[in-house]
């Protein structure tokens, strides 16, 4: 047995039993280390010191807030990002719930997007139009020179008296007349 383990065992004996309570073998072993009076004296000191340490009141430590305030003074916050750092320390159920919520939200957004991006063909009945159709009778005849002539009904009325001016023509007829004239020219030419 080396000296280190002897000290350990001696301490155990000192704390737990008086010299008289030791067995004869233990007593002889102890006496190889220290004398009996020394054993008793050290045992008393050990127990009295332990009692003192237990009974003596230690003043309370500074409050936690004071430590945190000192820390805040030394390290002013640059941004409220501490929650980001805390995420990694969350417990597993919180992670699962958070991930489920995020996935659900993303799926919802994707689903809504799908509905809006497609063409929806909905039949609509239009009751009001902005186009006015007006029938204009056109009389077609051949001139002496073999060319087709044309006159609208209103122009026919005014024929021989005054030449109709474009301003008196009904609106929207000029183009159709011109188109008809082209068709007639084409027809006569073919004849």
């Amino acid at each position: 047995m080396n000296s280190e383990s002897i000290q350990w065992d001696l301490e155990f004996f000192l704390k737990s039993r008086s010299f008289q309570e030791l067995s004869p073998e233990q007593q002889s072993w102890v006496l190889q280390q220290i004398s009996q009076p020394e054993y008793e004296s050290q045992r008393w000191t050990l127990l009295a010191s332990a009692d003192y340490f237990r009974a003596d009141s230690v003043p309370p430590p500074p409050p936690l807030e004071r430590v945190l305030q000192r820390y805040e003074r030394r390290h002013p916050r640059q941004g409220n990002l501490s929650w980001l750092a805390q995420i990694s320390t969350w417990r597993v159920p919180a992670w699962q719930l958070t991930m489920a919520l995020i996935c659900g939200w993303l799926f919802g957004q994707w689903n809504i997007g799908q509905h809006h991006s497609g063409l929806s063909l909905v039949p609509q009945i239009v009751y009001q139009t902005d186009t006015i159709v007006r029938e204009i009778p056109v009389y077609i005849g051949l001139t002496s020179k073999g060319k087709a002539s044309y006159q609208s009904a209103s122009e026919e009325k005014a024929a021989g008296q005054t030449h109709s001016s474009p301003s008196t023509r009904p609106r929207g007829t000029t183009n159709s007349i011109a188109r008809d004239r082209d068709l007639l020219d084409l027809t006569v030419g073919m004849q």
């Binding site: 000290q7 008793e40 003596d56 003043p59 430590p61 936690l64 430590v67 501490s82 320390t89």
Partner: protein, 197 residues
């Protein structure tokens, strides 16, 4: 949301340090609740029972942990690491005092209310004994005092003390033995048996 809150009081010290390394301030609060009083007691005893000095060092110690939690290896035992830092702080104080030729001050015990049922002689003896023990502790070599306080006040194991003071277990036991022998000589007058060795 209580279900999702961490139950800090159920966590080990090492887990709390892991949380603190992740930026969780609440974990620090729990560690403070667990160890502030013990650290205060350690500094109080090691620094001549000066309450103000002990408070300052307790505060500095925990501030150090809050500022540098990454220095802690979560594979180690937290209390050992904490006491190691505290021990080093005490050594720094002793070095500073030795440069200034200053010794550990004697405590100025506050007047505690007298207990009417206690025997005044016993009470006086007790006060005298406390003063004598404080003086005897003060007169111990720093290394022996440290081991003695860690062993008999903080009630730490030999192996843990050896890690804290960074020396072999045999050295710790040896220091404890010499400290106890010196204290018992100092306190012999108070021993009711008064055995002459």
């Amino acid at each position: 949301m209580g279900f999702f809150k961490k139950r800090y009081h159920e966590q080990s010290d090492e887990d709390l340090m892991r949380f603190l390394q992740g930026g969780d301030r609440a974990a620090f609060g729990e560690l403070y609740q667990r160890y502030a009083q013990r650290m205060q007691g350690y500094f109080y005893r090691m620094l001549g029972q000066d309450a103000e000095l002990a408070s300052d060092h307790t505060q500095d110690l925990f501030l150090h942990i809050l500022e540098r939690p990454h220095l802690f290896d979560t594979q180690r035992k937290f209390s050992t690491w904490l006491y190691s830092i505290a021990s080093n702080r005490c050594k720094n104080v002793y070095r500073s005092w030795s440069r200034q030729k200053k010794v550990l001050p004697l405590p100025e015990k506050e007047q505690q209310p007298e207990t009417t049922d206690a025997d005044p002689v016993d009470h006086l003896d007790r006060r005298l004994f406390e003063t004598a023990l404080t003086v005897a502790l003060r007169d111990l070599p720093d290394a022996q005092r440290e081991c003695f306080v860690l062993r008999y006040q903080e009630e730490l194991g030999i192996r843990e003390i050896s890690e804290i003071v960074d020396c072999p277990e045999g050295t710790v036991k040896s220091r404890l033995h010499y400290a106890l022998r010196q204290l018992s000589r100092h306190l012999r007058p108070f021993n009711p048996k008064k055995i002459e060795s």
